[in-house]
Symmetry: C2
Subunit: 373 residues, 2 copies
Amino acid sequence: MQPKGTHARDVIAELKSRNEQNKRYTSGRILCSMCTSPHSVAKKAYQQFFESNLGDQALFPAAAEIEREVIAQLSDLLHGKDAAGFVVSGGTEANLLALLAAKNKTNLAQPEVILPDSAHFSFTKTCNLIGLKPVYASLDGNYRVNPSIVEKLISKNTVAIVGTAGTAELGAVDPIDDLSKIALRYNVHLHVDAAFGGLIIPFIEKAFAFDFNLEGVESMTVDPHKMGMAAIPAGGILFRRKEMLGYLKTETPYLSDNCHYTFVGTRSGASAASAWAVFKTLGVEGYTRIVSKCIKNAHVLARGLEKIGYTLLCEPQLNIVAFKAKNTKQLSETLWRKGWYVSYIPRYDCIRVVVMPHVKRRHISAFLADLAT
Amino acid sequence: MQPKGTHARDVIAELKSRNEQNKRYTSGRILCSMCTSPHSVAKKAYQQFFESNLGDQALFPAAAEIEREVIAQLSDLLHGKDAAGFVVSGGTEANLLALLAAKNKTNLAQPEVILPDSAHFSFTKTCNLIGLKPVYASLDGNYRVNPSIVEKLISKNTVAIVGTAGTAELGAVDPIDDLSKIALRYNVHLHVDAAFGGLIIPFIEKAFAFDFNLEGVESMTVDPHKMGMAAIPAGGILFRRKEMLGYLKTETPYLSDNCHYTFVGTRSGASAASAWAVFKTLGVEGYTRIVSKCIKNAHVLARGLEKIGYTLLCEPQLNIVAFKAKNTKQLSETLWRKGWYVSYIPRYDCIRVVVMPHVKRRHISAFLADLAT
């Protein structure tokens, strides 16, 4: 740390200039991110609640109320009736809390969780942390988990099974309805990781059954800071039954609140406020408009890629398009050099494009034109 | 979620009005928080880097650079030479990462950690999560851990010992120098939880030996979002040795970066930018000025309390003052009703006042006047 201070004006000027090195969503060239430009109201809302701390709710009752309303709105959207939950740091914390509650509830000596091969890497983190043995179930031809394999893997040690609604790599939606039946049959906790799809699927026409409408679904991850267009950090965890929170309780002996359920202690209320503001500003109508455009643009991209001779890995289920070339890895590097920030997925040897709201039709045309040459 | 949207202007107006229900640091009446009003530059800096994601550093190289610089500045301040680390969600994640690395390094079947009786509740969360058995060491008359008890508790299962530099309840600073000697003698990881004290102790005259200058200290938690006056969420974790990061590595198969070390995946670069901006704006001189005032005000409060007949639990070591009354719990409730937001600490049956930068001399005078009547 420097001995003397610098004028705040100069500090901000330096940050502004350094920020030029960061890529911009508005360029339409970030094709590898499940985040996007937060909605303009998210930033304004964040500023309003900048000082508030959800880790100390007696001091910040309005922030606590806003958080409860965000959870109620998500619960309503995902047919959770009176689901309980929190605005958390992101999908990783949400997935952790779900599996931790399931594990603590069963209290088995050698607990296992059944994960699709396509499960997000946050489950690897979680399993390593809490000593859950991951048991992987393979996928079908559309990169969705095979439910009959899941069923076969259930054992007396299974504390939970996980399905993903919108995999990070391909946007695939696992057959949550089948998983739900299995969960009910074997009385096992089913957690749906809808970090990405949770704020997409409710707004698309060809709906997937994936939420609390399915009776076996016990918990869901849904991140306002992805397609919800809220500010980072704004993840969400929902439990069908409030009792599950009891398995997450930690006493907080010096705070005005007497316990915490989340992993993170001090949490900004601004996260909840930003999600709340976007939900309220857009409503179902606004999200439907934005999501439809993304899905349509993904379709345009998929057809365009085929037209110029690329092979799709699979038909896109949401707004992620994955394709292969003759030398896919090399092509992805070429694209980065040309300023198209795509992902290369080693395990499928494919390029992945996430068609978020900042990716407009004109960007897709330009991308296809560049690929065609 | 409501079917139709609302005009953003009305949404922000509602948030503004709701925010009136939150307590304000500027009132000088929040006496129970280890957070404070972020420095004005923190908010401006946050806005600059609002969109950036430290979970995807190839897209946001400037945010990644700012994070590295924050870590380098903290490392420099805490004599870490080339300590490695991250800006994380807060003290809980930082403490988790420290103990997780220590646990993974030793890879024992029944790992234990030695914690002071006064350790923060985030260690309870961590122990529950990662299956570490907490072994508690009792305190001396000044509420500092007793090092000879710690030494006696070391076993072949000990993966780490923890000392706190600025306990959450009383601001006590454990004898880290003694713990360091013990850690070196038994070759055990010593983690210092300086979430609170890490940005206080370097700026006070009567210095405590508590940082990487002590050779046994292997990792430190230090939170810019507490006395650092950065925006929530801005915690910090530092490891003396970069190799320790290897024990935290998770592969990230679809991101432009190929691994993560933090628990949280998607992390806002704005957190790091806000810490960076405050460090740069204040420098050592600015922090010294602010911290000295807090320490002085805590002293004024302590003497004032004694003068009007209250008993201090102990002489304040940092800027936290704890005192007892005839009926302390009842008094704390009376104070809340009068709009003085103090903490009541059941285990010591005391009231705790954290004298943060928003608590000015005039607030202390008013508080003492209210207590005297």
